[in-house]
């Protein structure tokens, strides 16, 4: 059952024939008998000579270079086992930290339940994951709280060049880290965190609808009783 190739940016369903015209199969697609088909539900895009399908749903599958937020689940003599909300456990080797950790001394640095910001340095064919916290931008996140969203919605929460995050932070003034695995760490004053969490919920629930940025801006304007781009003005309560 062959169907005509869908126009670009259309929702495709597994098994849909994609219009290859000389392009190579990218992620979310497969090649069969010289034709390219969609392997998963998503949106078609053509970039760098590849036809790919950007998924609309699904679990987080670790990829090299991703920045993720994880929770320490277990300790080993020279590593910590981190839950990164994926089907695969992610070990963080003691060497991949900014500290000089002696063998068997891991519990002095990180405990079960600690939350950390880290980078995935490698994922091999058997999906063995390696985390790293060595770079100074990564580390343990103390305080704050965690909000979780579907990993497929993370690009929407970040927005183009970080525009959505910028908009939310503009209003709420919270510290926020977004992991590619859908875990988000927030810290700030109680109201700010509450409104940020609500805005994130909005992205999660309405992420598939047009006009998302406007919806988020409207929510924040209502919550703070002022319009965007005046983030440091002193408001009625005298708070900054």
């Amino acid at each position: 059952m062959e169907r005509s190739a869908p126009a670009r940016r259309e929702v495709v369903i597994p098994g849909d024939l994609l219009d290859g015209h000389g392009l190579k199969p990218g992620s979310g697609t497969f090649n069969e008998g010289g034709r390219i088909y969609a392997a998963r539900l998503g949106i078609v895009s053509e970039r760098d000579g590849l036809v790919s399908v950007t998924p609309l749903s699904g679990r987080y599958i670790p990829r090299s270079q991703d920045v993720v937020i994880g929770k320490v689940m277990d300790l080993g003599p020279s590593h910590w086992l981190v839950d990164i909300n994926s089907p695969y456990p992610a070990p963080l080797n003691a060497k991949e930290t900014p500290w000089m950790v002696e063998f068997g001394d891991t519990e002095r640095y990180l405990h079960v339940g600690d939350v950390l910001l880290a980078e995935i340095v490698s994922v091999d064919e058997a999906m063995r994951v390696q985390l790293s916290m060595a770079d100074r931008q990564f580390g343990r996140l103390s305080g704050g709280q965690i909000v979780q969203i579907s990993p497929a919605k993370v690009p929407r929460l970040i927005g183009r060049q970080g525009s959505m995050i910028g908009l939310i932070r503009d209003f709420t003034q919270v510290r926020m880290f977004v992991g590619q695995n859908g875990m988000i760490w927030l810290d700030g004053d109680a109201d700010g965190v509450r409104h940020t969490a609500n805005a994130i919920r909005l992205v999660e629930d309405r992420g598939h609808l047009p006009g998302l940025t406007d919806a988020v801006r409207e929510y924040l304007e209502r919550a703070y009783g002022r319009s965007a781009s005046t983030p440091t003005e002193v408001d009625d309560d005298g708070r900054r």
Partner: protein
């Protein structure tokens, strides 16, 4: 079964003019309605009403396979659980797995394992749950059809959707999609599942007797019917997600670019990160 005695002996399952008990012709399906994404907590889900069948399907995964010794280092497991609710039939069904549901779970798992790209997710399992809420014959076909939509909804990579339909023989006539009375009093029932794009058959069972010729006619009926059902499955998925395409036109969802992340703060050991970029 206690619920079938209301049919008098002399009643014909299909009359001289080719009309069945419920008014259908030999090649007609019961009405089918599919809805995708009905459960919030599941990674993917679907609900199907197929005549008087009502079936819910949920998909979880890929997730870490448990128990660990079942993990396959080369590929994902596809594990299905088909279950009938105690209230799904007129005489209470004793809850829990029985010989029949274990068999159905196995054949459905195998049907899906042949279309899912299992090698992409080594050591994991994709878990499919099929709950029959109301049964009226053909529940494995309804369940499989719904589970296929649920798998796509969960974002599981696969070669194609799987579509399923049964046909059988009633009153000497080969007919499509038997209902409960036809299943109980007919001569044969033959459920099958196909991959519509390639025409591969991934599930084929038969209960009763058909000649080779009858079997081929039954198969042809099912194959034609699955094309229509396939469109219903695709429609259910499109209805759930078509609005997402419009959103994507505004903001192309790029793969993660490090510069999109919040600018990293200086972070000495054990201290809170300071965000001073605003």
């Amino acid at each position: 079964m206690g619920d079938v005695e209301h049919i008098p002996k002399e009643l014909k399952l299909i009359d001289e003019s080719g009309v069945r008990l419920d008014g259908r012709r030999y090649d007609e399906l019961r009405p089918i309605r599919i809805e995708a994404g009905v459960l919030k907590k599941a990674d993917g889900s679907a609900y199907i009403e197929w005549g008087n069948n009502k079936v819910l399907a949920a998909v979880y995964g890929p997730r870490e396979a448990h128990p660990r010794h079942l993990q396959d280092p080369a590929k994902a497991l596809v594990q299905c659980r088909y279950n009938m609710a105690p209230f799904s039939v007129t005489e209470r069904k004793r809850p829990g797995p029985d010989r029949r549901s274990v068999e159905i779970s196995k054949v459905i798992s195998e049907a899906f394992a042949s279309v899912v790209f299992v090698e992409q997710f080594p050591r994991t399992s994709v878990d499919i749950f099929i709950e029959v809420l109301q049964a009226d014959a053909g529940t494995r076909c309804a369940g499989l059809t719904a589970a296929s939509v649920a798998l796509a909804d969960a974002g599981i990579p696969m070669r194609d959707l799987v579509t399923s339909c049964a046909s059988g023989k009633i009153g000497g006539v080969v007919a499509l999609d038997l209902n409960k009375d036809e299943d109980n009093f007919g001569e044969a029932d033959c459920p099958m599942a196909i991959v519509p794009r390639t025409g591969e058959i991934v599930l084929l069972q038969m209960d009763g007797h058909l000649t080779v010729d009858e079997f081929e006619r039954a198969m042809d009926l099912s194959i034609v019917a699955t094309k229509g059902i396939y469109e219903l499955q695709r429609d259910a998925l499109r209805r759930r997600y078509s609005a997402m395409a419009e959103q994507a036109m505004e903001a192309p969802p790029p793969p993660p670019i490090p510069s999109e992340l919040p600018p990293p703060p200086d972070m000495p050991e054990d201290e809170l990160p300071e965000v001073d970029d605003l």
